[in-house]
Amino acid sequence: MQCAHRRQSKLKLVRRAFLVAFLVSATFSFAADHDRMNALSDQLMCPCGGCNTTLGFCPHKLECGSGVGMKKELAQMIDSGMDDKTILAAFAEKYGKQILSAPPATGFNLAAWLMPFFALGFGGVVAVYCIRRFSARWSTASTNTVDAAQYQSRVEEELRKYTPED
């Protein structure tokens, strides 16, 4: 009797645990879906043509017929268990590549992503090269010792700080 009671209470506990687990996972999956929806909405352009912004940010809200339709489409894809990559590929196939809010990092489009950093790196190398070259030329031409240079820089710094005119 006692054993059956214990088994029943154990079963109840397991059932409760399952219920809690289900509710928690449902809540989290809802939140995750909401976050995924937002994240994917930012990776797609609104197709209305009038706002020139992402699906998530379209200012026309409910007036934007095409945007609302696309959001429904996106929600259905998420519900059907498609992963992000497949969803984006499906939209690109249906609406064309320009529906993606950033160019895919493949082929010529890779240039879009790399060029700014390439330019920054190149500029940085040129700047460092120029400074080193000039400073090398300066140090060979100059007879100042390191201590003198330090002293000079300090004097300059203090003059800069404490003189009335900058």
Binding site: T53, F57, K61, V128, S139, Q150, S153
Partner: protein, 675 residues
């Protein structure tokens, strides 16, 4: 009145050409009377364009719909103040405003310098009037604001047509900040024509010292101030009027204004190196040429239809003219630069990679890289289509991913750069200046991480912001303490006098602090959230710690628009903190719907409520609610940035000799103690 406007434009065209020719002939024949005549003609151009713009204003005010521009950009029921903004609400009017502001600047420059820089000024007049000639040509022959409205008959003949009412002003422009935003934007864009003209004049007249830089320093700062203010006002407009919950969307029009501002910022820093050390002369020329080109390019971008934009002007044929003008200016200025290269040699050389000069170089590099990234992203759809035939979109995710790391590094330099010594910073001075700020910032970063700020870029932005703020604060503290001890002033007085005694330096620090606050505001954008809710009267919905209750739904009918309006009470932790009034309007003339958002702003966050419409059966309203942390910091940062610029524009205050001696004695003691 339209004929008078047309006549004014024609007269301006002739007078502008005369001004250029007279100035150049005056230089050629060393004839002062011709030079003075060219100068007076530049003032004459201003008078003519002013008459033209007044005519257009009168036509708008009197609702003269026989004029195409008036019929397309206003209507009878448009409030008077929006009729003023209709003056620049369309292509023709806004270009006329561009041209008019340029003539104002030109007139001020020639009057201000009529007895100064005699070798340079005739060239300055010519360059300014050359730009003015381009715009006057556009007004007169390409985008004439005084064109009569006509209908084409079946037999091909054209007859004048006067509609009963106009099409109205674009509803998105019917916002109070839009009355001041375009003129401020153009004051910025046009303003860079002045330092550009002086740079060109310096090269033409071989006056390649730093006279042109010293003469145009304030002009550059004024242009930079206006452009920055306009960018922020544009952001405020987008935030309040577009209803998408953000203030910056990397739209091509926004990018078009940001690019010259970034290079202008680089120029403002770089000229200091030329002033102090006689270095970077070629670089400064390149920067001002690029800044000016980017101002024209921005105008081209928004008007040519090359890239699509949410708030660009309609596609038109003027893009080609702008492109041609850009090519002429670019090739002319680069030719001049290469010709004068031997005369632009540096007077000094860089001594160390850790010095103020090199930090300015890196600051320039970062600003230019950021500008290039924006330019590249904005133009990439066009480039990609030309190369591969594929249309791609480059939207906000691209710009955020590319620019945020660059901007964080720029923030770092904002703190470090001004504290490095000229020529070479010693290890000791680096330790002295940066050890404590870096330590405190990292400790604060650790605390923030444990408090849940774990979005990397937001975290690093806040850590950098703390670091820069401490660096700036220490500079004020050290200077004010030295002053207070020497002069007997209290600390606040000492801070004020210190700032006023060296406005450029301390105004610059205030600008940097404004920049820090802007960054804090941006960092908050990583934590936004939003939700869409259907609600009837009495229904509630929540967002984070807030609950919103719909109290009233109503309609309003004005001569200009019809609107659906909601009254929504906002509760925070159960306590009513605000009443919000979001609206959804439909403008009668254009039948265009707009959202009028209602915002509750605090230092911590904004609750941003949009009335999106009604559900399909019309029983409930649909609200989009956004939780936007720290947005107010962006506006406060912008105000401080502007304030700092205004302080930097002030002349240095001279302190009385007696006080000056006392302060210097104390400062000398400080130095001894410090050593």
């Amino acid at each position: 009145m339209a004929q008078f406007g047309q006549f004014s434009l024609a007269l301006a065209f002739v007078v502008t050409i005369y001004s250029i020719v007279a100035s150049l002939l005056g230089i050629r024949f060393k004839n002062d009377k011709l030079i003075a005549s060219g100068r007076n003609a530049a003032i004459g151009t201003f008078v003519c364009i002013t008459m033209a713009i007044l005519c257009l204003f009168y036509l708008l005010m009197s609702s003269d719909f026989s004029i195409q521009y008036v019929a397309e950009h206003s209507n009878r029921d448009l409030p008077l103040y929006f009729k003023l903004s209709a003056l620049w609400g369309g292509q023709e009017g806004s270009l006329l405003l561009w041209g008019w502001l340029l003539t104002i600047y030109s007139a001020i420059v020639v009057i201000q310098n009529r007895r100064k820089h005699t070798a340079m000024m005739p060239y300055v007049t010519s360059v300014l009037m050359f730009t003015s000639l381009f715009f006057t040509t556009m007004h007169l022959f390409v985008v004439n604001p005084f064109t009569q409205l006509v209908t084409v008959q079946p037999d091909g003949s054209r007859i004048a047509f006067v509609p009963a009412d106009g099409q109205g002003l674009n509803p998105l422009l019917q916002y109070i900040l839009m009355i001041i935003h375009p003129p401020i934007m153009y004051l910025g864009l046009v303003g860079f024509a002045v330092p550009f003209a002086f740079a060109m004049a310096a090269m033409m007249s071989r006056q390649l010292g730093d006279t042109w830089i010293r003469t145009t320093r304030r002009w550059t700062m004024i242009a930079w101030f206006f452009l920055g203010t306009a960018i922020l006002l544009g952001g405020k407009w987008a935030y309040v009027e577009l209803g998408w919950g953000g203030f910056w969307g990397w739209d091509p029009v926004e990018n078009a204004s940001l690019m010259p501002w970034l290079i202008g910022t680089a120029f403002l820093h770089s000229v200091m190196v030329q002033e102090k050390k006689g270095m970077l002369k070629v670089w400064n020329m390149v920067l001002i040429i690029l800044t000016y080109i980017m101002c024209i390019f921005g105008t081209f971008l928004t008007r040519s239809g090359v890239v699509s934009s949410v708030h660009a002007f309609a596609q038109s044929s003027i893009g080609g003219y702008f492109l041609a003008f850009i090519m002429i200016v670019l090739s002319g200025s680069l030719y001049l630069l290469t010709e004068r290269l031997p005369d632009l040699k540096s007077e000094n050389q860089m001594e160390s990679i850790v010095s103020r000069e090199s930090s300015f170089m890196f600051n320039n590099l970062i600003l230019l890289a950021s500008c290039f990234a924006i330019f590249w992203g904005t133009m990439f759809p066009v480039i990609s289509e030309a190369v591969t035939g594929d249309k791609v979109t480059v939207g906000p995710p691209f710009f955020n991913r590319v620019n945020v790391p660059i901007a964080v590094f720029l923030l770092f330099l904002t703190g470090v750069g001004p504290l490095l010594a000229w020529r070479k910073a010693s290890t000791n001075s680096l330790k002295r200046n940066f050890l404590w700020p870096a330590g405190i910032a990292l400790a604060a970063g650790g605390i923030l991480y444990f408090l849940g700020v774990n979005h990397f870029y937001s975290w690093i932005s806040v850590v950098m912001s703390i670091f820069v703020t401490i660096c700036i604060g220490r500079e004020f503290y050290k200077g004010a303490r030295a002053r207070a001890t020497g002069s007997g002033e209290n600390f606040v007085e000492a801070v004020v006098n210190l700032t006023l005694r060296n406005t450029r330096r301390y105004g610059g620090y205030i600008v940097h602090f404004g920049f820090v606050l802007l960054f804090i505001g941006w960092a908050g954008q990583a934590f936004t959230s939003d939700s869409q809710n259907e609600a009837g009267i009495g229904d509630t919905f929540s967002m984070k710690q807030y609950v919103l209750r719909v109290d009233k739904l109503g309609v309003e009918d004005t001569p200009n628009y019809k609107s659906q309006k909601a009254t929504v009470s906002l509760f925070e932790y159960g306590k009513k903190v605000a009443i919000l009034y979001p609206e959804r309007r439909v403008y009668k003339a254009s039948q265009q719907p707009t959202t009028e958002v209602s915002i509750r702003s605090t230092l911590r966050e904004d609750i941003y409520l949009v009335f999106s419409g009604s559900n399909p059966d019309g029983s409930k309203a649909i609200f989009q609610v956004y939780y936007n942390p720290l947005v107010m910091w962006v506006w406060i940062g912008g105000i401080i940035l502007g304030l700092g610029t205004l302080i930097a524009l002030l002349p240095n205050k001279k302190i009385p000799a007696k006080d000056s001696r006392a302060v210097r004695t104390q400062e000398a003691k400080q130095v001894e103690v410090g050593s």
